[in-house]
């Protein structure tokens, strides 16, 4: 049995390729990975008019078949049939921006030369028309010698015809594959592309008026940075303000499940494992789903609207001062949600040293996994009062933690770029796409994929670590009548005594030593771990956040709490980040370096905080 024909979607960045891919496949998508590289593989299914299924794969945007980044390398290798784990495509849908033909046709010409059947989607034809361009699609078809379909992915225009042309393309007998042409005819291709673009342009008036108008405000030397700051402020504000209600719903749901389980299960070990370990542990993490999704929603909107590149433009000067470029701003901003997609997004940085420096500092951006730790400690120790009449002290401390992370990252970058990742800057050159309204369905699809990744994480790593921790904390049981607490008597309690020796100088106590081990798996587990410690220590306590806060206030001093917060700003406590760094840097050298320097930094900063706080009598 033959597998379904494989159609590759290729094109320049900003051609609207992913929107067209979403429109053709709908929600029937699978996001995976190419083996050996961290480039995401987006594949989906589509049914032709006669009912035959075809598989579509959305390749990373590229300017040519001569790759200058990992992404572009995958695009080339797939198209040449050299990518491991991928068949050679049976046909290519080349997506071109109708308003940018002279550039996009160059890659199209290169792709046509490959010898695989090609269908050209003349995409975003509506925006081109809005910009005053009239194009002759039939003339383009004649010039290129391949079928051309005018499409508007976001309005589903031209999709039926595109499907019909894809049907024709895969029904053709296969031709012998041709090798990609060498770089030397790049100029020839470019000139030919310009000729064709000129020939098929019927009329042309003022260009991109709207984009220019917005840019004159957004890129303004004074207004621009103010707008960027305001956007960042609204984004972080929204993460907290909008998430309150959904977090409440999730908490009640978790509570309800916990009570239900308590009622069903007999009192004893199993109940404790299920209620305290599983439901409590996973629940403590899942409540942060709303915040993560809000943050991702903002980032996806900023990206889809075209603003993200403007932000990079505005930030380039600042980034250059620490040896990076505006390009690094995008992965670093994503790292505020989670360092894993952030580190993956560094693939677009073509300079290897600069990319490495960005990877190494990405974990210093305060990711959403730290929020559970921050919120609970701040809630327990920082009084809920206002400073200067209008700024909340708790919010201010949280903001300060973000700033510490950013300053730490800047300092680290400055040092790294002068030492281990020394190298000339690769510069900053980026296409600034047209502004567009982000499409709601694309946004939902993106968020859905993020939510799934997060829940899988909560359901696997976090679930497993909480269960293991619960077991380590519960056994062995102290003999009846012993005055040693159950936690101190357990395996984990004994291990933590070893760690305690190391972290005692920086003000850490037993609870923290215990929490640090499972927090290696994922930071947010620290909260669950501390909760589990208290639940096992005092089984009659009501479980939940309030109990944790009360316990914290009784057992911790303010300097200890502050040192703990500072530790979490810097400490590389996340297996996923370490794993992705290993994969992205092809070895253990850099992740080990990262773990080493971040732990060192965390230790020193937490220590300085503790000693200072004690010295000034807090």
């Amino acid at each position: 049995m033959n597998p379904a024909p494989l159609i590759a979607m290729a094109g320049n960045p900003n051609a609207g390729k992913s929107a067209l891919f979403n429109a053709l496949t709908g929600a029937r998508q699978k996001v995976g990975n190419y083996p050996g590289v961290t480039v995401e593989r987006h594949a989906g299914r589509m049914t032709l008019d006669d009912g035959r299924p075809v598989e579509l794969v959305d390749l990373p945007g590229a300017y040519s078949l001569d790759p200058s980044s990992l992404d572009e390398q995958v695009t080339r290798d797939v198209l040449l049939g050299k990518q491991e784990g991928e068949r050679r495509p049976d046909a290519i849908v080349v997506v071109v921006d109708a308003a940018n033909l002279d550039n996009h046709l160059r890659f199209t010409l290169q792709l046509i030369a490959l010898g695989i059947p090609v269908v050209v989607a003349l995409n975003m034809i509506d925006l081109a028309e809005r910009d005053g361009l009239t194009l002759d699609a039939e003339a383009l078809e004649r010039e290129l010698g391949v079928p051309v379909v005018a499409t508007v992915a976001v309005r589903r225009r031209g999709l039926d015809e595109l499907r019909a042309r894809i049907d024709d393309a895969v029904s053709q007998p296969a031709k012998a594959p041709v090798e990609a042409r060498a770089e030397h005819d790049f100029r020839t291709l470019q000139r030919r592309a310009r000729q064709i673009a000129k020939a098929v342009t019927v009329s042309e008036t003022a260009t991109r008026r709207w984009t220019h108008r917005i840019d004159s405000i957004v890129l303004h030397p004074v207004a621009g940075p103010v707008i960027l700051l305001a956007l960042m402020f609204v984004m972080f504000q929204a993460v907290f303000a909008w998430s309150e209600a959904p977090i409440g719903w999730i908490e009640s749901l978790v509570g309800w499940v916990g009570e239900g389980a308590s009622a069903i299960l007999p009192d004893g070990l199993i109940r404790s494992a299920v209620v305290d370990g599983v439901i409590g542990g996973v629940g403590a993490v899942v409540v942060f789903l709303p915040q993560i999704l809000i943050l991702f929603a903002f980032i996806l909107i900023l990206e889809a609207s075209g603003y993200m590149v403007r932000a990079a433009f505005l930030m380039d000067r600042v980034m250059a001062s620490v040896g990076l470029s505006g390009r690094a701003f995008i992965p670093l901003l994503s790292s505020f949600a989670c360092a894993v997609p952030g580190i993956m997004a560094t693939r677009t940085i073509s300079d290897e040293k600069e990319r490495l420096a960005t990877i190494l500092i990405a974990p210093l951006m305060t990711c959403s996994a730290r929020l559970p730790v921050y919120t609970i400690i701040i809630g327990a120790f920082i009084p809920n009062q206002t400073v200067g009449g209008f700024v909340g002290l708790q919010g201010l401390v949280l903001f300060g933690l973000y700033i510490f992370g950013i300053l730490g990252a800047m300092g680290a970058s400055l040092l790294l770029r002068r030492t281990v990742t020394r190298g000339a800057s690769s510069g900053f050159m980026m296409e600034m796409p047209k502004y567009q309204w982000p499409r709601f369905n694309d946004l939902l699809l993106g968020l859905w994929q993020r939510a799934l990744i997060f829940l899988k994480r909560a359901g696997t790593i976090i679930l497993v670590t909480t269960i293991i921790l619960w077991a380590l904390l519960s056994f062995p049981k102290p003999p009846a009548g012993s005055d040693v607490s159950p936690v101190d008597y357990s395996v984990a309690g004994r291990v933590s005594q070893g760690i305690e020796v190391l972290v005692e100088p920086i003000g850490f106590n037993r609870d923290i030593s215990l929490a640090l081990i499972p927090a290696m798996a994922a930071r947010e587990v620290a909260v669950a771990a501390i909760g589990t410690v208290y639940a096992i220590d005092n089984p009659e306590d009501s479980a939940g956040e309030r109990a944790i806060v009360t316990n914290l206030r009784e057992r911790w001093t303010l300097p200890t709490a502050l040192a703990f917060l500072m530790w979490f700003v810097f400490a590389p406590q996340c297996i996923s980040t370490i794993a992705i760094t290993r994969r992205e840097t092809n070895g253990w050298k850099w992740p080990l370096f990262m773990v080493g320097y971040l732990f060192g930094l965390a230790y020193v900063m937490a220590g300085v905080t503790y000693w200072t706080a004690v010295a000034i009598g807090l």
Binding site: N103, R106, R194, R317, A424
Partner: protein, 89 residues
């Protein structure tokens, strides 16, 4: 850089007034690093292409925004300084 007085100092993209239409006469590729030169070519910069300076960044010497053909491209100053142009109309 040559210090000899140049009577017809070439006009650079960087020197243009904002939104003044111009055409590329040639590019001093030697002023650019190989990755920069390559990216610039990929973005369609070539002799004869219509260009304009759209946005000069603030006083701190940040990047500039240029139009290349129908595309807007952010680039650092020295890159716009390597592109020689003639005013168009």
């Amino acid at each position: 850089m040559a210090t000899a007085p140049d009577i017809s100092a070439p006009l650079r993209l960087l020197d243009l007034a904002c939104n003044q239409p111009a055409r590329v006469t040639d590019v001093d590729w030697a002023l650019l690093s190989p990755p920069e030169a390559r990216r610039l070519r990929e973005l369609g910069l070539d002799e004869g292409v219509d260009v304009a300076l759209i946005k000069r960044s603030g006083v701190l010497g940040g990047p500039v925004a240029c139009r290349i053909g129908r595309m807007t491209v952010a680039m650092r100053r020295h890159v716009a300084g390597a592109i020689r142009v003639e005013r168009d109309g």
